[in-house]
Amino acid sequence: MHHISVEPPAFFHRGPSPLSRLALLGVFSIALLFADTRFRYLEGVRQVVVVALYPFQRAVLLPGEAFAYVADYFVSKRQLADENSRLQETLVAQAPTVKTAPLLEVENARLKALLETARRYSGAAVAVEVLYTSRDPFTQKLFVNKGVDAGVKAGDAVIDELGVVGQVTRAYPMMAEVTLVTERDHAVPVRIERSGIRSVLFGNGTGRSPELRFTAPSADIKVGDRLLTSGIDGTYPAGLAVAEVVDIDRDTGQMFARIACRPLAGVDRSQFLLVLGREAALPPRPEEPAEIESAKKGRRGRR
């Protein structure tokens, strides 16, 4: 059987063939991928395009918000009607009861707790609301409704009323991207509340629990121990609850114990979050010995 020729005759040519275009653009894409993972200098471009897309993103959110508002209206209306009839019944029975919208009550309690946390913390704190989660199935990220204009900076810690949620990784003019503590290889310096042992909590990606890595099997850690931020790297203020130890696998054949943890904060649930600005920059890390530095540079230069 003869194939129908994919190539048009020479007099119909419209620029380079699809295959050569694909080859060229494929090489471009791979170069972009490398540039983005290694050097991160495309952040500027990203910044501009995100600002341009922002109104449309909000427009897309509008129907959902309107629906929630209308639903809320009808729910509260029905609740009021129910309440009314119930109150009339109780009036008859001469037994007063207090019924309030449970949803609103719970939300109020949460906001109050969040406010309390903000008061305890001396630095600048910005209350934010979650806009949406990332579409990408490989990452654990959120987008919140305030950005550079509200004083949110990349590197700020993000908490809810129960504990640490994550860290701002990109701040755009009107929104910010928050990487959750469950993101793969996202590190939080922690301290065991009971024994004071320092360690680092690493996220493990979607659907897997974070773990304490590089901890000796003999370390004094029990199931149920709470992990607090140690404040060592200056990103997270000290003393915020982060996670709880749920499983310890002390295999003596391994160099380190496997310690699985469960985040205490509503990492995948909370709607209202608090962004904590850094109080003061820590003194810079002392210079590493010069010979190591030059050896590293030399290796890079040769490559």
């Binding site: 129908i4 994919v6 419209r14 699809p18 295959l19 275009r21 694909l22 653009l25 494929g26 471009f28 894409s29 791979i30 170069a31 972009l32 991928l33 540039a35 983005d36 993972t37 495309l42 471009v45 990203r46 395009v49 995100v50 897309l53 449309f56 993103q57 427009a59 897309v60 959110l61 959902g64 806009l131 949406y132 989660t133 990332s134 579409r135 990408d136 199935p137 490989f138 990452t139 990220k141 987008f143 990109r170 991207e177 793969r184 290889d185 493990n204 990606g205 979607t206 659907g207 897997r208 995948d268």
Partner: protein, 180 residues
């Protein structure tokens, strides 16, 4: 002379129907709407099922209008998607460019089949697109996703017949224009 049939019901144009030329602005608008649909927030359950609508619309135009939409357009649209998604710069660009090339290669074959059989081939093409994204991410150090990662291309393929009819609608001759 036989009168051209008016557009009745949700059917694709038959081969004897002569379609009006597509407006480039219509292509742009549909691509943009698909991008918005892609970045619209949904509940976590539906996010796992959501097909890549942008890839689907792109595929449609690559197959139907290769003179307007080709590898270059797909690559650029992929870059915009990467930015909107805030993921690695270039992963969707690469995947969409390959998708557009595959669409161009197979387009004559795809169009010979009825819509439901086209959908099967579309599932394969969307699967290819998803596989490239997966490959890029795994090379970049991401963990393997769960099996639900394979669901969106299938959902996308199921939407293909409806999408084809909808996107073709403005190009089909109406009864009044056929009389003239």
């Amino acid at each position: 002379m036989r009168m051209l049939p008016g557009v009745t019901g949700l059917n694709a144009a038959r081969s004897e129907e002569i379609l009006r030329p597509v407006k480039p602005s219509f292509i742009l608008v549909t691509l943009f709407l698909a991008l918005l649909a892609n970045i619209a927030p949904l509940a976590p359950v539906t996010t796992a099922l959501r097909p890549d609508l942008l890839a689907l619309v792109l595929l449609y135009w690559c197959i139907r209008e290769p003179r307007y939409v080709g590898v270059g357009t797909a690559w650029f649209v992929g870059l915009v998607m990467d930015v909107a998604d805030a993921t690695l710069f270039g992963q969707h660009a690469l995947a969409y460019a390959v998708l557009a090339y595959a669409a161009d290669y197979f387009r004559r074959r795809v169009l010979r089949f009825p819509l439901w059989q086209q959908a099967v081939q579309v599932a394969a093409l969307l699967g290819l697109c998803a596989a490239i994204v997966l490959l890029v991410r795994i090379v970049g150090g991401a963990p393997l996703p769960r099996w639900t990662y394979a669901v969106p291309p299938v959902v996308g393929a199921l939407m293909w017949p409806l999408l084809s009819v909808l996107l073709q609608y403005p190009q089909r001759p109406t009864r009044s224009s056929a009389k003239r």
